[in-house]
């Protein structure tokens, strides 16, 4: 019997090995399609901005397909109107700030194309806490971040959170308040498995910049459909009319900056 007992875990481990999955890179012969225009535009408490570009082929990582001859006009339901001026790299800007509760409409015209969208500016979000945590999942420890928001009371709200790591986009998520209206909302970000050579693993002194936006439902639907598109294999829900990709969002935003230090990471159950 002692011999049997010794072999039982071995048999189990054998099964685990046998059932372990494998991954490998494969070659895909991507189909060539005509470029499509992409607009990323916003009105916020910090100003107005629109970037107009085009899609790239899958093997093209350049960011030079920018449009510099567009007329970009943002009008508000309060009667305001601003024409954004071209800056560089396909970006159009105005220093005018948005007002919560106002519905803004963006009109973009160039080379016979006309794209429009609208969005309602939301109130200022509130962050309660951000911390680095370590969670053990089966045998591995995972580096994570926990962001706690205080829901804007007495109204339906949607949030967009974006973490930059050393000035580069790192993690993002959207959340709506239906899981705890008027209360505290939790958003977890999984960074990487500790001990791995994953380049996403946070290193000592990494600088994190977190943007938290209160967005409207139309923007949320766009970002949520973008969040699940790896699972669904579908494009985000169109946000613009006129046939371009991208979104227009009017939002209020707060930011939070911190550095990553291993000593600050809290183990959680």
């Amino acid at each position: 019997m002692p011999l049997m007992k010794k072999y039982i875990p071995l048999l189990f481990c054998l099964n685990l090995i046998l059932l372990s999955s494998c991954k490998k890179d494969i070659e895909i012969d991507y189909h060539q399609v005509d470029p499509i225009y992409v607009v990323e535009a916003s009105v916020s408490n910090e100003g107005m901005e629109a970037r107009i570009s085009q899609t790239n082929n899958m093997d093209d990582n350049s960011t030079t397909s920018n449009i510099d001859n567009a007329v970009v006009v943002v009008t508000g339901s309060d009667g305001s109107s601003k024409t954004l001026t071209y800056s560089k790299n396909g970006i159009y800007k105005s220093s005018a700030v948005g007002v919560p509760g106002v519905e803004y409409t963006i009109d973009i015209q160039f080379d016979g194309h006309h794209f429009t969208s609208s969005s309602i500016m939301q109130k200022m979000p509130k962050m309660n806490n951000f911390r680095f945590i370590r969670k053990k999942i089966v045998t591995e420890n995972y580096q994570m971040g926990e962001l706690l928001l205080q829901d804007i009371p007495n109204e339906e709200n949607w949030y967009f959170m974006h973490i930059y790591r050393n000035h580069l986009g790192y993690r993002w998520a959207v959340k709506r308040d239906d899981t705890n209206p008027n209360g505290e909302l939790q958003q977890l970000f999984t960074f990487a498995r500790e001990g791995s050579d994953d380049k996403d693993l946070l290193q000592e002194d990494d600088w994190l910049h977190i943007e938290i936006r209160a967005i409207d439902k139309k923007s949320y639907d766009y970002f949520y459909s973008m969040q699940i598109m790896d699972n669904t294999g579908t494009n985000p829900i169109p946000n613009f009319t006129g046939g371009c990709l991208g979104y227009f969002s009017a939002y209020s935003q707060i930011t939070y900056d911190c550095e990553f230090h291993e000593a600050d990471v809290e183990d959680v159950e």
């Binding site: 039982i8 046998l18 494998c22 499509i36 992409v38 990582n61 705890n180 699940i228 985000p236």
Partner: protein
């Protein structure tokens, strides 16, 4: 005739193989049963029907030491497996959710354990099965693709018998015998994995849970020369839990009571009362984030079948069924957010199917099924706007009929036999389905959502025509078949772009309806006699879908579309004790969606999908082998089975993901595979 054979197989008292081509007759005292013989395959009027003898499962190699009926079915022409780890099957372009799997007349909705590694059905509890590949006789309904009709085995009325099988991952036991000799018998089988027991012994995994069990019991009682009662019970349960974070459970529960009465002249009546339920219950508790999600399908039915024999050339089958159905598409709690959608329906069907032997060379079968499906009040119904929002709420009284979907389903088959050894068969069938499954992926999971036809969702209606040529050699040593089919289906459902199962509780907000078509040809050559037996099957198939709002409203390849399937199955009887089995499977690349370009949004590269399912995964192929050693003693038969799944260790595509490459621009396509080579061994004995 095939269906009659299946009914009779319920009366099997042992699993002893029957003579290859004996004639099936039915007597309550002495039941002589044969299943699918070569002659029957050629001469049966029904095209697109495959009869599976449970003892013939031995001719296919075993995975994890199990004879698995679902995996054996996947080796038949025109039948596709969903994936490496799935027990579900797809037939002639349909999805597994469009199939109906019946066990002693009751539907079973989830046919897999451990995510599909094992089938729900313990082969020790089975007598036989028939797969109807879309051309259903009128007595079958409720499926817009195929029906797999499985009959449970009854116990021995003379002697007590039993057996047990011990494999690497699971063990099972069977006990059967007379309750009253020659009058009543019982059969009980039970199976359980012990993966969780291993987990408990390893420090790293002791807080994890992974197990399933199933129990089958069948009692039969010969009341008189004319009357017999059958009572069947089946339950299966799965649980997978990771620490205290994730807990996934699902279960099947089925009970049926059947009364078989014989009239003079070979006619009979079967009255069946059954309940079948499928439940799933999934929970996550992760760093303060709590959510659980569950759903169910429950169905209680009364079914009446009459078989009326007017002498050799004429037979009529008639009957009706009435069912109460309750489907919970979802109930969930995410932190403080609660949602529930549960609906019920009343479904009625009446059918008539006649088989007429018009001449020695010509047999004709025709039937008509009338199906009425009525969703009932007691929960909310809606109008849905084009953007997916709710435009209007309807609150019907409890059990008030919301609407009735009426579908008249004609069925017809004809068999022409130019010679004794050859037949040409033609068939047409219209079928409908009112319980629908929604899934984002190609395979079935515990996260599938189910719903019923409603004021918005229409019944799926499939029309299929099929034609085939069947030839056998003089001594029936070889037989060949070539079948072609065209299938058209309306009201197929798919998720809207950008929606998943958890996007909204109201399932009708998530879906769009469209149409589908599939067509193809199936060739099969079988060797039936000698030391070496087996078959070669080749399927050439197309399957397409068109839904307004998806893929610009254009036709696209369905996600189960693949062009070529080849299966070679062989069994070689090396000696009285040793039998060798092998199966080689080749599937050309399955359709999947990949991006065609990319763009930057919020400093991330985002993919642009120009077309749905416009790409092909790498080809899939593998070789499975097994060797069994059997020693038949005077009272006890012992058997060792050694198997190797995926002998040449090919890593086949299970999932293709797009990830960051070295330059971070997300252009790396990564294929994930589930299994490499998997050896297994099992020991069983029977007394």
């Amino acid at each position: 005739m095939i269906a009659l054979n299946i009914i009779l197989s319920a009366c099997l008292t042992t699993a002893t193989p029957e003579p290859e081509d004996s004639i099936r007759t039915e007597r309550l005292e002495e039941v002589v049963v044969t299943a699918n013989s070569v002659r029957q395959r050629v001469q049966n009027v029904q095209t697109g029907a495959e009869v599976i003898q449970i003892e013939n499962l031995m001719s296919t190699p075993q995975l994890f030491g199990e004879n698995d009926i679902m995996r054996s079915i996947q080796l038949l022409p025109g039948v596709k497996s969903e994936s490496d780890a799935s027990s579900s099957f797809q037939v002639r372009g349909g999805t597994s959710a469009q199939n109906q799997v019946l066990f002693d007349n009751a539907p079973i909705y989830n046919v897999g354990h451990v995510g599909g590694l094992f089938s729900t059905f313990n082969d020790d509890a089975l007598a036989g099965a028939t797969l109807y590949k879309g051309l259903l006789p009128a007595q079958f309904g409720g499926a817009s693709s195929a029906v797999l009709d499985i009959t449970g085995r009854t116990g021995n009325k003379q002697h007590y018998h039993g057996g047990a099988t011990i494999g690497l991952l699971a063990a099972k036991g069977t006990f059967e015998g007379p309750i009253v000799k020659d009058k009543a018998s019982f059969l009980v089988t039970a199976r359980r994995t012990y993966m969780d027991l291993f987990l408990k012994l390893t420090p790293d995994f002791k807080h994890n849970t992974l197990y399933f069990y199933d129990i089958n019991a069948k009692f039969d009682w010969t009341i008189s020369q004319r009357d017999q009662l059958f009572l069947t019970f089946f339950t299966g349960y799965d649980r997978t839990a990771v620490d205290k974070m994730v807990d996934i459970r699902w279960s099947n529960l089925m009970g049926s009571l059947k009364w078989l009465h014989h009239f003079n002249g070979g006619s009979n009546s079967q009255t069946t009362l059954y309940y079948s339920g499928y439940h799933n219950d999934n929970g996550v508790d992760f760093v303060g984030m709590n959510l659980w999600y569950k759903g169910h399908i429950r169905q209680g039915s009364l079914r009446q079948d009459f078989t009326i024999n007017f002498g050799e050339p004429y037979q009529l089958k008639a009957g009706f069924q009435t069912s109460l159905i309750n489907v919970k598409s979802a109930e969930w709690q995410v932190m403080n957010k609660y949602g529930k959608e549960e609906r019920k329906a009343w479904e009625n069907a009446v059918w008539l199917n006649g088989t007429f032997k018009l001449s020695k060379r010509l047999t004709f079968s025709a039937g008509l099924r009338l199906n009425l499906f009525s969703p009932l009040g007691g929960s909310l119904y809606y109008d849905i706007e084009p953007d997916g929002s709710i435009g209007w709420y309807y609150n019907y009284k409890n059990n008030e009929i919301v609407t009735t979907h009426t579908v008249l389903e004609p069925r017809a088959s004809i068999s022409i036999q130019p010679t004794e050894l050859t037949s040409i068969k033609l068939g047409y069938a219209r079928t409908s389905q009112n319980i629908h499954a929604l899934r984002n992926q190609n395979t079935s999971t515990p996260f599938d959502r189910y719903t019923i036809s409603s004021n918005i969702i229409k019944p799926e209606i499939a029309d299929q025509v099929s034609a085939g040529v069947f030839v056998m050699t003089d001594n029936q040593s070889y037989d060949f078949s070539l079948e072609g089919y065209y299938r058209k289906i309306s009201n197929v459902l798919d998720y809207r772009d950008g929606k998943s199962f958890s996007s909204e509780i109201e399932i009708e907000r998530l879906i769009l309806a469209g149409e589908g078509k599939s067509y193809g040809a199936e060739f099969c050559a079988r060797k039936n006699l000698g030391r070496l037996t087996g078959w070669i099957a080749y399927t050439l198939a197309w399957s397409k879908t068109r839904i307004d709002g998806i893929n610009n409203g254009d036709w696209y390849d369905a996600n189960n579309d693949r062009r070529h399937d080849v299966t070679i199955v062989g069994a070689y009887k090396l000696s009285d004790r040793w039998t060798l089995n092998a199966a080689w499977v080749f599937n050309s690349g399955q359709a999947f969606t990949a991006p065609s370009s990319k763009y930057q949004i919020i400093d991330n590269w985002i993919y642009y999908y120009a077309e749905r399912n416009g790409y092909r995964a790498p080809d899939y192929h593998r070789l499975d082998v097994s060797a069994s050693w059997t020693k038949q003693g005077k009272h006890v038969t012992r058997q060792w089975v050694f198997g190797i799944y995926n002998l040449y260790n090919r890593y086949n595509p299970y999932l293709i993901n797009f990830e960051d490459s070295e330059n971070g621009a997300r252009t790396r396509a990564v294929q994930y595979s589930l299994f490499g080579i998997v050896p297994s061994v099992s020991f069983n004995f029977k007394f």
